[in-house]
Amino acid sequence: MENQINHRPRKRKRKKKKKSNSVVLFRGIFDIFIFLVITTPLVLFFGPYDNTRKTVISTVLATRHAYLINDLIPQATLNKMLGIDESQDGVEVAQDMKKINVKYKVGNEVNAYDIHTQRFDGYVVEIKNPLKVKVAMTKFLTKMGQKTSEMAEEHDAVAAINGGSFVDKSSDGTLYAGTGSEPGGFVISEGKVIYPTSGAKENNVENVIAFTKGGELIVGDHTLAELKKLNVQEAMCFRKPNIIINGVRQIKNKTEDGLNPRTAVGQKEDGTVIFLVIDGRKITEPGASLYDVQEIMMNRGAVNAGALDGGYSSTMYYKGDLLNSPNAWNGERSVATAFYVEQ
C-alpha cells in the first residue's frame, strides 16, 4: 500500500516533466533560431571575421545580384570593408618582355592537368608553343554568340577556353540574357582588328589579354596603338585586376572578387601558355577567388597572367570534350570570343 501511494505522485510528476521538456526544447530551438537570424548578419558585417566578410560581400558583388549589397552599403564603407585602397588604383606595372624567352616555336605539345581542392575543381591545359594560340570570334557577330566548343570545332582546335567580355543583352533587350553577340573593347586576330569592324578608337585604354608575333603574352591596360607597336597578333579585352606581372603577385586580397567559376591565361618563362578554368556556383564547390587563380598560376610557374570572363561563361574544351561542367540547364553558354589552340 505504502509503495503505491508513494509511486503515484512520482509518476505524475514524471509525465509532467516529459511534456514540458519538449516544449522547452522547441522554445529553445526557436530562441536559437531568432538569435541567429538577428545576430548573424551583424557579426558578418561588423564582427572580427575579415576573410568571411570579404568573401561573402565580394562573391555577391561579382554576381548580377550586386544590388543586394550596393543598395544597402555606401561605396566608401564598402571599400573599407573590403580593404580596397582607392589611391592605389591605376598604378600599372610595366611588363618586362626580357623575362620571357619563347623556347618552342615549332611543334605542338599540349598537356592537360586536373586540380582538385576542397573549394573547387580546376582544369589546366598547357601549350608549349605560344604561336598556336589564336583568337576566335562568333561568326554571327551582332546577331548572337557561339559556344566555345562550337568555335573550337570550327577551327579544328586541340583546346579552347571562353574569352573576354561581351554585351549582355538579348536581341529583344532582356538584360543578362546576352548570347555574346558583341565583344567588349576590341578584338585582334592575325594582326588585324576584327572588332569593332570599323572606327576602332586607337587610344582607348582596355585591359587586354594579347599575344605578340613572337608569342609573348601581354596582360594589363593598353591602347590599340600600343598593341600595334608591340606587334600584337591576337588580343581580346576583359577587366582588371591583373593577376601576375613579371613573376610578381598583383593580388594581395585573399578573397578578391569572391568565389566564382574562373577562366584565366598565363605564360611561363619558356613561353608555355597556361589555360586555366575553374568550376563553381554549386553548394559543394562555390568556386575560386582571383587570389586562388593567382596561386595556381604561380604554382604552375606563370610569369605573367590575366583573367578572362568567369561565372557561367567559364568553359574549357579539350580534344572534343568539355572538361568543366557549366552549372546550367542549357549546358554551355554562348560567348563572343574564345582562345583556341590550333592543330
Partner: protein, 339 residues
C-alpha cells in the same frame, strides 16, 4: 526569473554555435592555403567511329534522338533511358524517389535534355523541370540564386505538360501546361531561373522562342502574338497563320493554313527592324505535323504513306521503312525506326 535564465542559456548556445561556425569558415575553410596539386590527365583512347545505325529494343515509348544523333532516348517501364551509340551503353535518368517522368525534350544544340517530373511534396503535386546531361549521365536541378527550385504547382491532378519551348542561347525556358478544361497556362523561367506565369487560362497553340530572343512567339486563339509586345503579328497576305518552328539563324517559320493543310511556308528574323519575309511553296498541301523544321535551318516534309522524307529546298528525297522519328542536325541525316 528561471525563464529568462533559460532563454539566456539558449542564446548562449546559439552564440557558441554561431561563433564556432564563423571561426571554422574564417580560420579553416577560407584560410587554409589550398593545396594545389595538378595531376596530368592521361589521354583517353579515341572513341569508336560514329555509327550510322543504332539498334534499339522493341516496344519502347517516346523514342527521341539527341541533336547530334549520338544518343537515343526512350521510356521503358516508365523509366527514362538513354543509349549512347558511341559505346552502346545505356544510362538511366535517375530521379527522386516517387517522381514520375511526364515529359522530356532534347535541347537543340547540346547533349542535354529537359525532363519534367511530377513530384509530391507534403501532399502537394508539382511539375519540376530538371536537366539531364547525357554525356556525363548527371541530372541537375533548376534553381535560382537562393537555391529555390523551379516548380509549378498542379491546380488539378489532370494537368499535363503539353510542351516546353526554349532558347539555349538566351537561357530562356517556357513550360506550357494543359489544364483539364482544355485551356493552357504558360510559364517562363528566365536566366536566373525565376519562374513567372505569363499566360493564364488561354487557348494556346504552338510556342517557339527565337534563338536570340527571350520573348516567346505564341499561337493564341487564331492569332500569333509575341510576348511583351502589343497587338498581333501579321504576315503579309496570310490570313490564318500557324507557327512551325525556329532555327539556329534566328528565323521563325510559319505556315499558311487552308482547309486544315499547309501549302506555303513563310519565315523571317523577327528581331530585325526591317523584316524580310521569305516564302517556300510546297508542291502539294500537307498536314501541319508532317512539316519538320530542323534547328539547322533545313525544312523537311514527311510523307508517311509513301515512307519518304523530302528536304524541301534541295528537293532531295530519302526513303525509309517503319516509323519516322525525327531529324537531327549535325549530319543532315534522319532517324527512323525499322519495325
Amino acid at each position: 526569473m528561471s525563464k529568462i535564465k533559460r532563454r539566456l542559456m539558449w542564446f548562449a548556445i546559439a552564440l557558441i554555435l554561431q561563433q564556432c561556425i564563423f571561426l571554422f569558415v574564417e580560420k579553416v575553410y577560407l584560410s587554409t592555403d589550398l593545396n594545389i596539386k595538378a595531376e596530368e590527365v592521361q589521354e583517353k583512347e579515341n572513341l569508336a567511329d560514329k555509327k550510322t545505325e543504332i539498334d534499339i529494343k522493341k516496344g519502347l515509348n517516346e523514342v527521341k534522338l539527341s541533336s547530334d544523333g549520338r544518343f537515343v532516348s526512350y521510356l521503358e517501364d516508365s523509366k527514362l533511358k538513354i543509349l549512347d551509340s558511341n559505346d552502346d551503353k545505356e544510362k538511366e535518368c535517375a530521379l527522386d524517389t516517387g517522381a514520375e517522368i511526364v515529359f522530356y525534350k532534347w535541347l537543340s544544340n547540346e547533349n542535354n535534355m529537359i525532363v519534367i517530373q511530377k513530384v509530391k511534396d507534403k501532399g502537394v503535386s508539382y511539375f519540376e523541370p530538371v536537366s539531364f546531361d547525357a554525356k556525363k549521365g548527371e541530372a541537375r536541378e533548376l534553381a535560382d540564386f537562393d537555391l529555390n527550385k523551379v516548380r509549378i504547382k498542379l491546380q488539378n491532378l489532370k494537368d499535363k505538360i503539353d510542351d516546353v519551348a526554349f532558347s539555349t542561347s538566351t537561357n530562356t525556358l517556357y513550360i506550357k501546361v494543359k489544364q483539364s478544361d482544355g485551356k493552357y497556362d504558360l510559364y517562363y523561367a528566365n536566366i536566373m531561373n525565376q519562374l513567372k506565369k505569363v499566360k493564364a487560362d488561354k487557348i494556346l497553340g504552338n510556342v517557339v522562342v527565337p534563338t536570340t530572343s527571350t520573348n516567346a512567339v505564341i499561337e493564341e486563339g487564331s492569332n500569333i502574338t509575341i510576348l511583351n509586345s502589343k497587338g498581333n503579328l501579321s504576315i503579309p497576305n496570310v490570313k490564318s497563320p500557324k507557327i512551325l518552328g525556329s532555327d539556329v539563324n534566328d528565323n521563325v517559320y510559319f505556315g499558311e493554313l487552308a482547309n486544315n493543310k499547309i501549302k506555303k511556308i513563310y519565315y523571317t528574323v523577327l528581331s530585325d527592324s526591317n523584316r524580310k519575309w521569305n516564302e517556300i511553296k510546297l508542291t502539294q498541301p500537307v498536314d501541319e505535323d508532317s512539316i519538320i523544321i530542323d534547328y539547322s535551318g533545313k525544312v523537311y516534309v514527311n510523307n508517311k504513306s509513301e515512307g519518304s522524307v523530302l528536304e524541301v529546298i534541295s528537293n532531295k528525297s530519302i526513303k525509309y521503312k517503319g516509323d519516322f522519328v525525327q531529324s537531327y542536325s549535325k549530319e543532315l541525316f534522319l532517324g527512323w525506326i525499322i519495325n
